[in-house]
């Protein structure tokens, strides 16, 4: 790559870094909250994309992983008095384990069956949250203690930096994963499973790994959500949540990291605007989804990648 190109790239990243670092100075608390919400959904979409975009499996367990992460972090803080960084670690681990667990039946069950089973799993988890009220505080939900940083409570700005750092870590780790033989294995399995096996790819193991990593990332996003909202209840993690994740990933574009971010930013702002009218959010989202399905099957990310080849995401690093 020519030196001037590299220099321009480095400059762009630096500017982005500075802009992101200084962002809180220019926004009020409410907007900051919305931005924080966007960050959470960016991470959740990133995780979802691994299984539905890269691996290509129709697994609708994202809301379940999200909820597991949120409950894990929330309960760690509420019942075990863990500080939030540890609680986040717990949510990531819980998500990863759940992902691995779901990944195993995913080996035997394909296509629509997988979609149905994973939806059933999500509903089963919600039932668990409601009925295991000794642990989970039941149907009413609970509010974990607010996160603190060296004794002082974390305000929206503080949360912003934490979320940004976690998102950056998540993106970096996932990029490393996808731009390696592991990411290539996922896509190979999606494209042509027999061919992938003939090259030595351990298909079953790769699938479970994809699910586990997806669960880890989405669980982590759920942990952030617990910090964001201050309230965790079973109702949050049902079909409506699943639609949100699904719409973000579809509109953003399957198999596109940039798409996930765009989709999350675009769609997280919307509920705030549509809040006052019942059903409008669902109508707008579903119409958007249909438009995408008809005209832009590869979503925004795909559209951009077609126009700007430099943005096209590779599955290797040089």
């Amino acid at each position: 790559m020519a030196d001037s190109c590299k220099y321009k790239r480095r400059l762009a990243w630096l500017l982005l870094f500075v802009a992101l670092a200084l962002l809180p100075l220019g926004v009020n608390n409410y907007v900051q909250f919305v931005i924080n919400t966007m960050l959470v959904y960016c991470l959740a979409a990133l995780g979802f994309n691994i299984v539905i975009g890269y691996l290509g499996q129709l697994a609708f367990a994202n809301a379940a992983f999200f909820g597991i992460g949120a409950y894990a972090a929330g309960l760690a803080m509420a019942r075990l008095d863990l500080a939030f960084p540890l609680a986040l670690a717990v949510s990531a681990i819980a998500g990863g384990l759940a992902g691995g667990l779901v990944g195993m039946p995913a080996l035997r069950v394909r296509g629509y069956y997988l979609a149905i089973v994973t939806l059933a799993f999500g509903e089963l988890m919600r039932w668990f949250y409601v009925h295991a009220d000794g642990i989970t505080y039941g149907a009413g939900g609970f509010s974990p203690p607010p996160p603190t940083w060296f004794g002082a409570p974390l305000n929206e700005t503080g949360k912003y930096y934490v979320f940004l750092a976690v998102l950056a870590l998540g993106v970096a780790a996932t990029q490393h994963l996808l731009k390696s033989r592991i990411g290539r294995a996922f896509v190979a399995i999606r494209n042509n499973e027999p061919a992938a096996a003939s090259l030595g790819i351990a298909v079953a193991r790769s699938k479970v790994v994809a699910f586990a990593w997806s669960g880890l990332i989405v669980g982590l996003a759920g942990g952030l959500y617990a910090l964001l909202n201050g309230r965790i209840s079973p109702d949050t993690f049902g079909l409506a949540q699943m639609l949100m994740h699904f719409a973000i990933v579809m509109i953003g574009g399957l198999g596109s990291l940039l798409g996930s971010i765009l989709g999350a930013v675009l769609l997280t702002g919307a509920p705030e605007l549509l809040r006052n009218f019942p059903g409008l959010e669902e109508i707008v989202f579903s119409l958007l989804l249909m438009v995408v399905l008809f005209f832009m099957p590869r979503g925004l990310g795909g559209l951009i990648a077609d126009r700007i080849p430099a943005v096209r995401e590779r599955l290797y690093r040089e």
Binding site: L58, Y112, V117, L124, F246, F277, F294
Partner: protein
């Protein structure tokens, strides 16, 4: 108590069977799992409610209206949204039905908000006693109707010429097309029939469950569970699966815990798909 649980289970299971039958018809004609079937169910109930309450029509006419409307909606969905996506990856069709499901839910939520409305039963009256077992007239109507539908289907598919043609067309669409059968029209009609069946199920059970925008979700899962249990794609399987599911739910609720009624369907799905994916009556197919 056992007898009561079983009989009530069969009654509710018949509704599940009706839903599963509708979903199976759609699945066989377009190989799409219809994630918005629960919404046909919900729209059917609303479509009776609206003319009944706001226009003052008689129940009979409301019923006709609802079934006719949902038949039309089914055909419109197939023609306008499913058919253009025929050549797209299969996943897009499923996603379209998901999007539709949310659209319908959003629309009804827009008009009805948080209201939960009661729909009077098709057949009112006092409960009837058969020895120790109690049945509402509505329950008996449901069982009778489902029996009628099942018999009609059997006669249609096994005995009539048209039925056999439809059956053949669903198994090998290309072959059917080459034989001159109008496959697109058939698909279109099948969607109308499937949607209407969903609507009928909604109308039948609405008196029990009350009418509200989210009522479809629960039924969708029960439909999946019935289809999975009976064997995906099998018409008799849908009926058997539905009835067995209804009985399971009631037995679990009665003997183990009332909390289990809600999740019996989910557990059935998970267990069946992991242990015997072809269900009770299905054969082993590599459906993906």
């Amino acid at each position: 108590m056992l007898a009561q649980l079983i009989v009530s289970g069969i009654a509710v299971g018949c509704v599940y069977a009706l839903i599963a039958l509708g979903m199976t018809i759609l699945f066989r004609s377009t190989t799409v799992v219809n994630f918005c079937h629960g919404e046909f169910f919900m729209l059917g109930a609303f479509a009776v409610l609206v003319p009944l309450q706001t226009l003052g029509w008689s129940y009979g006419w409301c019923l006709v209206f609802s079934l006719g409307l949902l038949f039309a909606v089914g055909m419109a969905v197939e023609r306008g949204l499913m058919r253009p996506l025929q050549s797209a990856p299969h996943i897009s069709l499923a996603m379209m039905t998901v999007a539709l499901s949310y659209l319908f839910k959003g629309i009804s939520r827009f008009f009805y908000g948080r209201e939960v409305v009661a729909l009077p039963p098709l057949m009112a009256g006092d409960p009837v006693f058969f020895g120790e077992v109690v049945l509402l007239p509505q329950d008996m109507l449901i069982m009778g109707l489902v029996l009628l539908v099942v018999v009609a289907f059997f006669v249609f598919f096994q005995k009539t010429e048209i039925g056999k043609v439809v059956e053949a067309a669903s198994q090998t669409p290309r072959g059917a097309f080459l034989s001159g059968i109008n496959v697109p029209l058939l698909r279109n009609l099948m969607w109308g029939v499937g949607a209407a069946m969903g609507a009928l199920a909604g109308i039948l059970i609405a008196p029990n469950t009350l009418v509200y925008p989210d009522m479809g979700g629960h039924m969708l899962v029960r439909g999946f569970a019935a289809m999975t249990l009976g064997g995906f794609g099998s018409l008799p399987g849908a009926v058997v699966g539905g009835i067995v599911l209804g009985v399971f739910e009631n037995l679990a609720g009665g003997y183990l815990s009332s909390a289990l009624v809600d999740i019996t369907a989910y557990l059935v799905i998970i267990i069946v798909l992991l242990i015997r994916p072809q269900g009770l009556l299905g054969w082993r197919r590599d459906r993906g």
